[in-house]
Amino acid sequence: MLQLQDIVYSVPDGKGRKTILDGVNLTFNDGERIVITGHNGSGKTTLAKIIMGIIQPDRGRIILNGEDITKLDVTARAKKGMAFAFQQPVRFKGLTVGDLLQVAHGRFALRSELCEYLSAVGLCAADYLDRELSGELSGGELKRIEIAMALLRDGAVTVFDEPEAGIDLWSFDNLIDAFDTLKDGKKITIIISHQERVMRSADQLVVMQSGQVQQVGTPAEVLKVIRPATPCAKLQRSQK
């Protein structure tokens, strides 16, 4: 079980501070898939970074299976089985896809084993292992490799930040299958997404707004309520 208790996060802003997360309380149960959605800038990525220990909250606690991990750094959390696929994949000059997959795997893995994970995200594996993880890969390729790394960690808690971004529809269907392979036993999968199909696949759907949790519930409950006035819809209405 992963619990977020009263998480507050702010950044310096001119003279004062700007609050980005404002008292977030959430509980994720073992074996659950949680999908977090909400407008751009509502604080989803910030929340993911706090879960992973990339940034520290001003206030609040993060409890994993009863242990307070708020003060643990990124490495320590990774060792506890927490994995994160970044919204924007990182590029490395001189390191290959294979190098990073090997690290993600944690112990020595055969090329054929690494290849399986690339196939799971729809990349024709062997061609990619020796490619540099740099600008010569396309955005969608980088993104899929990022997801493969997180899948490889096979962690107790895995966070995917907008896995669908930049990925074509065909590959996206395969991705959903890949997420389903994580849905065994006690693992917690957190997917940040704007895709209705992903939202509908959640056990728990969380809607963020302006740094707060606006809605939590099953997709059926939540999607009934939200269908909200998007900024665009509001604009269109006011223009009428």
Binding site: V74, A78, F86, V90, F92, K93, G94, V103
Partner: protein
């Protein structure tokens, strides 16, 4: 014939010239100012110079797949040498030359090797030239290297130069000049690692004089502790030609890297670019590797090793 080397010499030869056991092909092994072993082949003649230190290496025209090893080792503290090596590559020949210099200094005096290498590439010839530089030894004396490389390329020739400074070199100044004829191609990769209070300076001066000639320089530098590196390059194009210089540097601790690019296009059809990026290791790279379970220190090492590979 089998060559006798001490354990230290063997280890150094393996590191600077990938030599394990006797070299195949032509070779000249220079140890502490003496030519310790030399071998010519039917296609590659190595002869000592008269009146000054160094060798002439002559590769016959149109021979393929030849190799030449010319490593230099210094283990005497206080030894300073200036060596001239000239390479004459016959037209259409294809050869790999492995140079490299290791200085192991256990004493308090400086040890220094200044090697001046001049290459004359005949029409349509291909040279792959690899040099590795390494300093070691517990002494307080400096381990100093000043390689000078002068390259003249005839039409259609191809020169691939790879220069690597593996560490332990107190002070180095690399000076490389090249003049390219029509359709000639020059590709230079440089990898330099400095630490402590070491300094390394690189100067490239390339003239693209022949129509359709091209140069590509890819330099990667890692400077740790209080070390300092400087990269100066000047590419000049006087005709339709292509030149690209890419200089990437990673600094850690209190290190300094300076880069001075200069490109002179003296013809409307000269296409010349220079990119330089210097900075510390990107925070997001460290975090990514941490999320994969590495400590910050292991993550740094992995990034640096990959970058210099």
């Amino acid at each position: 014939m089998s060559l006798e080397f001490s354990a230290l010499e063997q280890q150094m030869l393996a590191q600077i010239a990938d030599l394990e056991g006797d070299p195949t092909g032509a070779y000249n092994v220079r140890i502490n100012g003496e030519s310790y072993a030399r071998m010519s082949t039917d296609n590659v003649k190595i002869t000592p110079k008269k009146g000054q230190a160094g060798i002439d290496v002559v590769v016959k025209p149109n021979v393929k797949g030849e190799s030449v090893h010319i490593p230099v080792i210094i283990t005497d503290s206080g030894r300073k040498e200036l060596v001239y090596n000239d390479f004459y590559i016959g037209k259409g020949a294809d050869v790999t030359i492995v140079a490299g210099c290791g200085i192991d200094n256990c004493g308090g005096e400086d040890a220094q090797h200044d090697g001046v290498h001049a290459f004359h590439l005949g029409k349509g010839s291909r040279v792959k030239y690899v040099e590795k530089h390494l300093g070691s030894g517990a002494g307080s004396g400096g381990r100093i290297l000043n390689p000078v490389t002068k390259i003249e390329q005839d039409a259609g020739s191809n020169f691939e130069l790879s220069t690597v400074q593996l560490g332990g070199v107190t002070r180095a100044v690399r000076t490389t000049t090249a003049k390219l004829g029509a359709g000639a191609k020059l590709h230079i990769t440089e990898r330099i690692l400095t630490s402590d209070r070491q300094t390394a300076k690189t100067q490239f001066d390339v003239t693209l004089a022949g129509k359709g000639s091209a140069v590509e320089v890819v330099s990667r530098a890692v400077a740790r502790n209080h070390s300092q590196q400087e990269f100066i390059s000047h590419v000049r194009g006087t005709t339709q030609c292509y030149g690209r210089v890419e200089c990437d540097g990673i600094m850690l601790d209190k290190a300094v890297i300076r880069s001075t690019p200069q490109i002179s296009a003296e013809n409307v059809d000269a296409t010349l670019t220079h990119e330089a990026t210097i900075g510390k290791i990107a925070g997001e790279q460290l975090i990514k590797l941490q999320t994969l379970g590495l400590t910050v220190e292991d993550a740094e090492n992995m990034i640096i090793q990959g970058f210099l590979a």
